[in-house]
């Protein structure tokens, strides 16, 4: 173990938000740099269609509450998105100033306004007049919360069923604290709760309450359950104590005291998506001495966002491209000692259009590690989906065309549960928009078309 191993309270500091927010002066200068485009491309590029020039203009004028309201109206998880959105691929990538100077820091300005609202304990919305209809939402992640918010504004009585101890889903448990502190997610939850939305936590649908019960008691049900644990690798040694599920690994850093058991350790992370990056950077901040990401394809095929990749490199994470694990090694007492890998080569693309990695025989080599984290995607809550009796494809809920309706007319679905098989989007911001759209579709289904007075 390294002589300079950090003390445990220093580890806690590692999980404080990494990026500092803009100062008032920085926000003002940046806000004033915004051109206030008409029919702005940044709005088009935002999945939730936040009126970005308007919220930025409101920062410039000192109308912070109005600015936060503009953001949160369009995106009920706008404070989280300010931190986790791949802005260079969305709003900032579309900024017209990319063609002349440099794009506006839209994400940071969005964080400025929402931070202001959080710090000043602002309640931004009021529930709509009750229309007597009830909607159950399963899952309180970005999609479920957004649907709940919109339905509450429209006058529905909304009950959210959440299996975890606390609401917020991915934003509460799945994104590393140094990028998204839990208090941000909880504030967004509070904003929704303040609209008389009931959130039943520690309540697992399918166990504590049945799918049929929900379908029977509510006018509509939204399935926004996201995805489940990381699937097994299917290699020898993965049931060892030193092999972790990346989702659980990150969640552990957000639910209890920060563990000191990884100080000075060598860790391998299998996979190169955003969760893999989170698991790797988490390991670094837990004091691991060496952290390596092992990926069977190349940097080009990696699904992590560029900014995530950059962040991981800055944190000192190493990358083994075209490498796949074949065996996890342990000593006689069951402690992981290494991971045996094979070098890969990319061949013709398969059904999914991605080049297939093929192992090079005889290329086995061992990377000495003390722990392994699986981050090769997430499995699905197939059992629960089947309880609702709705059509799915390998756990991806199938929808009617241009709709969030499932094969049961009272059941709607949005968020990660509909992502995959060429359907949906994986981003938090997309889930938020899907939640909104699901709410509007339910309103249209239940209340019918608005009567045209003219």
């Amino acid at each position: 173990m390294s002589m300079t191993s950090p003390l445990k309270d220093e580890l806690e500091l590692n999980f404080q938000e990494a990026e500092r927010g803009l100062s008032q002066r920085e926000a003002l200068e940046e806000a004033n740099r915004c051109l206030y485009c008409y029919d702005a491309p940044c709005i088009q590029a935002c999945p939730t269609g936040i009126d970005i020039p308007t919220f930025i203009k409101k920062i410039a004028s000192g109308n912070y509450k109005g600015s936060a309201r503009t953001i949160m109206t369009a995106n009920p998880v706008g404070a989280s998105c300010a931190r986790v959105c791949p802005t260079e691929e969305l709003c900032e990538g579309a900024c017209v100033l990319n063609h002349s100077t440099k794009p506006i820091m839209i994400g940071n300005l969005q964080r400025y306004s929402t931070d202001w609202a959080i710090q000043n304990k602002q309640a931004l919305f009021k529930a709509g007049k009750k229309n007597g209809k009830k909607v159950a939402i399963v899952g309180s992640g970005p999609a479920g919360l957004s649907a709940a918010r919109e339905l509450a504004l429209l006058g529905y009585s909304v009950t959210i069923f959440e299996a975890e101890k606390n609401p917020g889903g991915l934003n509460t448990y799945g994104i590393v604290s140094f990028r998204l502190p839990q208090r941000i997610s909880y504030w967004e939850v509070e904003q929704v709760k303040s609209l008389d939305v009931e959130i039943k936590t520690n309540t697992r649908v399918g166990l504590d309450v049945s799918a049929d019960q929900l379908i029977g008691e509510f006018d509509a049900v939204i399935l926004a359950i996201g995805m489940s644990s990381v699937p097994k690798l299917g290699i020898e040694g993965e049931d060892l104590a030193g092999v972790y599920d990346a989702i659980d690994f990150v969640k552990a850093t957000k639910t209890g005291a920060i563990s000191d058991e990884f100080i000075g350790k060598k860790m391998a992370v299998i996979g190169a998506g955003n969760t893999a990056i989170d698991a790797a950077t988490c390991s670094v901040r837990l004091g691991a001495e060496q952290v390596a990401i092992i990926y069977r394809r190349t940097q080009k095929e990696m699904t992590a966002y560029d900014f995530e990749f950059e962040f991981a490199k800055q944190e000192g994470v190493g990358f083994h491209w075209l490498t796949a694990p074949s065996r996890i090694l342990a000593d006689e007492s069951g402690h992981v000692t290494g991971i045996e890998c094979m070098k890969m080569v990319l061949s013709e693309p398969g059904e999914d259009g991605r080049s297939r990695p093929v192992p090079i025989s005889g290329s086995e080599f061992v990377i000495p590690v003390d722990g392994v984290i699986r981050a090769i995607g997430q499995s699905r809550y197939i059992g629960l989906i089947e309880q609702f009796g709705i059509k799915h494809d390998d756990g991806v809920v199938m929808l009617e065309a241009d709709s969030y309706k499932t094969s049961n007319e009272k059941v709607f679905a949005c968020g990660d549960v509909i992502f995959g098989k060429g359907q949906g989007e994986a981003m938090v911001v997309s889930a938020a928009q899907q939640g909104k759209d699901t709410a509007y579709e339910i309103d249209l289904t239940i209340m019918g078309e608005a009567v045209d007075i003219a």
């Binding site: 003002l28 200068e29 806000a31 004033n32 051109l35 206030y36 485009c37 008409y38 029919d39 702005a40 491309p41 410039a60 017209v96 100033l97 063609h99 002349s100």
Partner: protein, 428 residues
């Protein structure tokens, strides 16, 4: 290198950049620091009977985060004894014999008062005088400054009295708080002024604190109007300079003042008829060191234009300034958008659509790419689109050829008058 030295009504200075009479020229220490930094001249903080000042005194206007777009003050003339100022003027002049020191003066509008103070200043030696007929606050309530500067007879008389006692050139500093500044400028001419300077500050209230509801600035919860200056007033000052410069009944050298922040502003004032310029707010914002860039920028500009002396550009734009009735009604420009430079912010479209002549269309080409186009037949050439455009070079105002000969409103009316007279004759 071009010759930057000027001669304003006999007052010589190594360059056209003078510090205006204001807080920066309050003491010998400051003026000497300014001369060390490169300023060509300084108009000393107005001499007179020492006054009492209040606290606080200044306020500024920010615009979209840009500090000191405009500046407001309620400070009065010097609060130091005359003999102290005179001693320091003497010492400064002795140390910097080639730099211009002009004494700004303000006393009550009585002949003996003017004679007395001018004689005392004469004794220490200055290069000229500037009669402060412009200070709009405080002193005006006592019948001095702008109060006398707004009455042409008082401007004339006091100029005359000062000239009676002065052996050095007398500049009359005019207030902009008047409908037509040429009226008081002509009064200064009648009083025998050697030059005029303008503008002094404009009556202003910098702002109101929307939380405390106090004025900005306030003195223990009460405010009074101040004098406004800084970049925001430049267009007002430039017009007043130009109006005096093109008035044949004035014909005096002009020392231009008002919002000059850099060498380009200075060139504009020189072109519009100023022989030199006076600066205050820019120095108060950034310190005396800014003059280095002013001198270098002006020098480079003259060299690039192949102009030997700064005096050669004085007034060169004055013949181009006239009355609206003399503008050619048949001259026509239209906006043209350069789509390769355009960044598609659509600001031109919305400005034109909502507030001008609805002639910029938002279109898509066959591949779905957005672009903007001006319907030239509907464009009146107002310039608004090119003003709001943030991408340099994206919108050009193109001059169209017109088969019709130039025709001004005045010419048109004269011509129509002729027809009318003829038709009247015909009816007989």
């Amino acid at each position: 290198m071009a010759d930057l030295s000027i001669n304003l009504a006999g007052i010589k200075s190594p360059n056209p950049f003078w510090l205006a009479s204001a807080p920066p020229t309050n003491s010998g220490y400051q003026v000497q620091r300014a001369f060390e930094a490169g300023w060509g001249g300084a108009v000393w903080k107005t001499l007179g009977d020492p006054i009492l000042n209040v606290s606080s005194r200044f306020a500024a206007v920010s615009f979209n985060g840009q500090r000191v777009a405009g500046f407001n003050n309620i400070e009065l003339i010097t609060d130091r004894p005359l003999e102290v100022n005179l001693k320091e003027i003497y010492e400064t002049k002795k140390r910097f014999p080639d730099h211009a020191i002009i004494a700004s003066v303000m006393v009550e509008p009585q002949q003996e008062k003017w004679h007395e103070i001018i004689k005392r200043i004469e004794a220490v030696g200055v290069d000229g005088y500037e009669l402060n007929f412009g200070c709009p606050h405080g002193m005006a309530e006592r019948g001095m400054g702008a109060a006398s500067g707004q009455v042409p007879e008082l401007v004339e008389k006091q100029t005359y009295w000062a000239k009676e006692a002065a052996s050095k050139p007398v500049i009359v500093k005019l207030t902009p708080n008047i409908t037509d500044i040429t009226v008081t400028a002509e009064a200064a001419v009648r009083g025998g002024a050697d030059a005029i300077s303008m503008i002094n500050t404009i009556n202003s209230l910098a702002g109101v604190d929307i939380h405390s509801w106090n004025t900005i600035p306030h003195v223990g919860g009460k405010g009074a109007h101040g004098g406004y200056c800084g970049p925001a007033v430049k267009p007002i000052a430039l017009n007043m300079v130009a109006e005096c410069a093109r008035n044949p009944r004035i014909g005096l050298p002009i020392s231009g003042i008002g919002g000059i922040s850099n060498w380009q502003d200075a060139v504009e004032f020189l072109l519009m008829g100023s022989t030199g310029v006076q600066i205050c707010t820019a120095a108060m914002h950034h310190g005396f060191r800014i003059v280095e860039d002013m001198i270098e920028g002006l020098s480079n500009y003259l060299d690039e234009k192949g102009i030997a002396s700064v005096m050669d550009i004085v007034g060169k734009s004055v013949p181009r300034y006239s009355d609206w009735g003399n503008l050619d009604l048949n001259y026509k420009v239209v906006a043209r958008i350069n789509n390769d430079i355009c960044i598609n912010c659509n600001k031109c479209h919305i400005a034109c659509e909502d507030t001008s002549h609805q002639c910029i269309d938002m279109l898509k080409d066959e591949s779905g790419i957005s672009f903007l186009r001006v319907r030239e037949e509907d464009c009146v050439g107002c310039n608004l689109c090119s003003i709001v455009c943030p991408a340099d070079g994206a919108i050009d105002m193109i001059e169209l050829t017109n088969e019709l000969p130039p025709m001004t409103w005045n010419e048109r009316q004269a011509y129509l008058g002729g027809i009318e007279n003829e038709s009247v004759d015909f009816a007989k």
